[in-house]
């Protein structure tokens, strides 16, 4: 945990280690407890506790009108959340897989994102749409997508992606308290443990990982603040979600002295942290799992080029998923793993 992150801890830190699913569950539990306006809803989230168990036990504890199942209708789920937000509630809808957010896109893009603007703040849509995203679990092309850049392109939406249980809890609490619509993407590959990108090596569970020390009770991590994962001089790596862990593992294996920034929120972006790091190292590598063309990496690359051009000693480089759908059996060839990242690092350092 960085010094900065530690400052955000309002509650007392204990050595309790939990996984990301439990951290998310705790954040929801705390917010349901603290704020009677918080509502959790989505396909299978009630009695069953969600297909990934993120909402397990919440209905039993908080009642059926606070935590409930919905029809299979993503446009309904998000549209209803807009109305609830306008009333004054803080809905936290779950979209079962990010791949299924598309039927709800119009409600998100044309309605939720613009309600405040079009009504001159008479109405707001303070909702947090949670959704597991990304690949690495053999989900095939309809359970593996990373659609974050669709949302970063829309004005009025905030996009948050945690990479550790600690962050997941603190960021989710902050997202729920935020008065704007937030898309909260949960990297499902690291729900149960960090991931080095080597699919053929055992995954270390969060229970054993120092980054999973999560304080009990309420704390928040402000949106718009990146986390410095590692400090280095040679190169800056910008990543979020699962790719933070892959980048970290690769840098360690290669012995590269890299500054690794976990962006944590894409919108609003911690541009200061990005500038500060790139100005120090002069080299920038961007890593994400989403397809390459028009991905969020393109935006990052443009920003870095615009703002740090005179500090750059090598072309800003992107490592991403390929521009193909996520193929079921070739998942590991698609995944931007250690070889792809390693190659890019070699190239940048040579320049």
């Amino acid at each position: 945990m960085s010094a900065e992150a530690k400052q955000d801890v309002a509650a007392e830190t204990t050595e309790r280690r939990i996984n990301m699913i439990e951290a998310i569950n705790e954040a929801l539990d705390i917010m349901l407890e603290r704020d009677p306006d918080v509502i959790v809803m989505g396909e299978d989230v009630g009695y069953f506790g969600g297909v990934f168990r993120c909402t397990a036990g919440l209905q039993e504890k908080h009642g059926r009108t606070r935590v409930f199942d919905t029809p299979i209708s993503e446009c309904g789920i998000i549209g209803v959340a807009v109305g609830m937000g306008a009333y004054g509630l803080r809905p936290v809808p779950e979209i079962q897989f990010a791949d299924y957010i598309y039927p709800g896109l119009d409600q998100l893009i044309s309605e939720a994102a613009r309600l405040r603007y079009r009504s001159a703040a008479e109405f707001i849509a303070p909702m947090t749409v949670r959704s597991p995203f990304g690949g690495g679990i053999f989900g095939g092309q309809t359970h593996s997508q990373s659609p974050e850049s669709l949302f970063t392109h829309v004005s009025g939406l905030k996009t948050v992606i945690p990479s550790t249980p600690y962050d997941a809890k603190g960021l989710l609490i902050a997202a729920i308290e935020d008065n704007d619509p937030v898309i909260f993407f949960e990297p499902k590959r690291i729900y149960n443990g960090p991931f080095s990108g080597f699919y053929d090596r055992p995954v270390e569970p969060w229970k054993k990982h120092p980054q999973s020390v999560v304080p009990e009770g309420y704390y928040r991590i402000p949106l718009g603040k990146a986390r410095l994962v590692a400090e280095g001089e040679e190169l800056t790596i910008l990543a979020y979600g699962t790719m933070v862990h892959v980048a970290e593992a690769v840098a360690k294996e290669k012995g590269v002295d890299a500054d690794i920034l976990d962006l944590r929120t894409l919108v609003p972006l911690d541009i200061e942290a990005v500038e500060k790091s790139v100005e120090k190292t002069g080299k920038c590598l961007i890593v994400h799992e989403a397809t390459r063309t028009s991905g969020f990496g393109a935006e990052l690359s443009a920003l870095v080029t615009e703002r740090c051009f005179y500090h750059l000693e090598a072309p800003v480089t992107r490592v991403t998923g390929f521009d193909t759908p996520y193929p079921h059996s070739l998942e590991w060839a698609y995944f931007p793993g250690p070889v792809r990242i390693g190659e890019a690092i070699d190239k940048i350092l040579k320049d």
Binding site: I72, S73, S329
Partner: protein, 434 residues
């Protein structure tokens, strides 16, 4: 200034407080089950209107339950399709084969040979009997629980298993999640993981067939849970507006993962009754009665073929097993439900019917079950020679970049080279399947 939305208006204290209704199934794990309120009617007592009848003349059938097979295992009433014993035995065989196939593939997933599987146990009639009532070149737009259609249409089992194992024999090149088959040759549309998207597509296909003066019709299958999606309602609107030659089959198996049918609106009306507001013909059918399934689908097919319009059919059935291999139904529903399901098991019902009419016996059934199991086992072994799902080592690398576009553009060419470089780095020049 505080955000106006921070202070929601509250009702006056002297007015009654409103309450939200959140549906809850009648039983949960450990609870006894009571299906006594289900009105399953008398087999044979439902009228069979003319296939060209106006929807307003048959509103009752959207609430009733069309049944043919009675408790005496005999066929009754005007919906009896009067199939010859040979056809009935073929139907039974497809059902037994589907069940044997499901058993083996489910086990295969547990043994780590693939990532995922979905059974259709208890719902076999809704795909097998129904598709047997269609012409083999009628286009079907299935959801993911209609493996029975492929089996009834004679799609080779080995192709199904190759797909499930994502191995080198997989015609879909290892791209799709297991069970998301596709076979143009068998007029079986490629399955999507995005629920209900196939419903307007089926209507579109049917419209195209009508535009072209073709004689083929389309049919689609969708779960009752998925009828809540906007796509389904768009499909109904287009179907009625253009009088599309299409059949919209809703498989009401009572559960959508852990959510009971009440979350799709079942507490208030039937799914067949959805048809009425659109002006579609609506039938509600006992989905565990293979003869009723066959007869209703044939009725709707004849209607569509005669340009008399689309039909929405609800097949009332029960999902006897879990939603998929990723799910444990004992966590959300009473184990007793399956036992107590009042409409029985479709395979058993058909078997008992054949026995009752003197065209079958227990020994032949046992022999057939055994034969099916052995055949599946053999084909599985054959398919395993093409590999099982194993970290992507079966599909040649370049296949990942094929079919994104008709022609490979520069950026994908570059990315394909990148993938090959990575593979060599990882496995060396002699690495697998470059």
């Amino acid at each position: 200034m505080a955000d106006p939305a921070d202070k929601p208006p509250r009702g006056g204290d002297n007015r009654p407080a409103l309450a939200l209704h959140v549906p809850e199934p009648k039983s949960r794990p450990g609870d006894p089950v009571d299906f006594s309120d289900l009105d399953i009617g008398e087999a044979g007592s439902q009228p069979r209107p003319d296939e060209g009848a106006h929807p307003s003349e048959m509103t009752g059938l959207a609430y009733d339950l069309i049944r043919v097979l009675g408790d005496d295992d005999r066929a009754h009433g005007p919906w009896d399709p009067k199939l010859d014993p040979e056809t009935l035995r073929t139907m039974l065989r497809h059902m037994a084969m589907t069940r044997a196939f499901d058993e083996r593939m489910f086990r295969g997933q547990r043994q780590g040979k693939t990532s995922f599987y979905m059974k259709c146990t208890g719902e076999e009639a809704t795909s097998i009997a129904t598709s047997m009532a269609l012409a083999s070149d009628d286009m079907v737009f299935p959801s993911y629980r209609q493996q029975g259609i492929l089996i009834a249409r004679g799609y080779p089992l080995i192709e199904m298993i190759n797909q499930i194992y994502s191995n080198k024999g997989d015609k879909l090149k290892g791209r799709q999640l297991p069970i998301m088959y596709s076979s143009r040759e068998h007029s079986f549309f490629s399955i999507s993981g995005n629920l209900a998207t196939q419903t307007p597509q089926a209507v579109g296909w049917a419209m195209a067939s009508a535009i072209k003066g073709d004689s083929r019709i389309a049919a689609t299958w969708v779960g009752e849970g998925s009828t809540a999606e906007g796509d389904f309602h768009s499909a109904c609107t287009f179907a009625t507006v253009y009088n599309a030659p299409v059949i919209l089959n809703v498989i009401n198996n009572q559960w959508a993962i852990s959510s009971f049918s009440g979350f799709a609106g079942a507490e208030r009306t039937t799914f067949a009754a959805r048809a009425l507001g659109y002006g579609l013909a609506g039938l509600r059918v006992d989905g565990n009665d293979p003869l009723a399934c066959y007869a209703s689908q044939l009725w709707a097919a004849n209607r569509a073929r005669a340009n008399k319009g689309p039909t929405l059919i609800e097949y009332f059935t029960y999902r006897a097993e879990g939603h998929s291999t990723s799910d444990d139904p004992s966590g959300y529903r009473s184990a007793q439900e399956r036992e107590d399901w009042p409409l029985g098991d479709p395979v058993k019902r058909l078997r008992d019917h054949l026995i009752a009419i003197g065209e079958w016996d227990e020994d032949r059934q046992a022999a057939m079950d055994k034969e099916c199991a052995e055949q599946v086992k053999e084909v599985t072994k054959e398919a395993e020679k093409n590999g099982i799902l194993g970290h992507g080592l079966h599909q040649p690398f370049r296949t990942m970049f094929e079919d994104v576009f008709e022609e490979l553009p520069w950026h994908l060419k570059e990315q394909a080279e990148q993938a090959t470089r990575e593979r060599i780095k990882k496995f060396g020049e002699k690495g697998p399947n470059r």
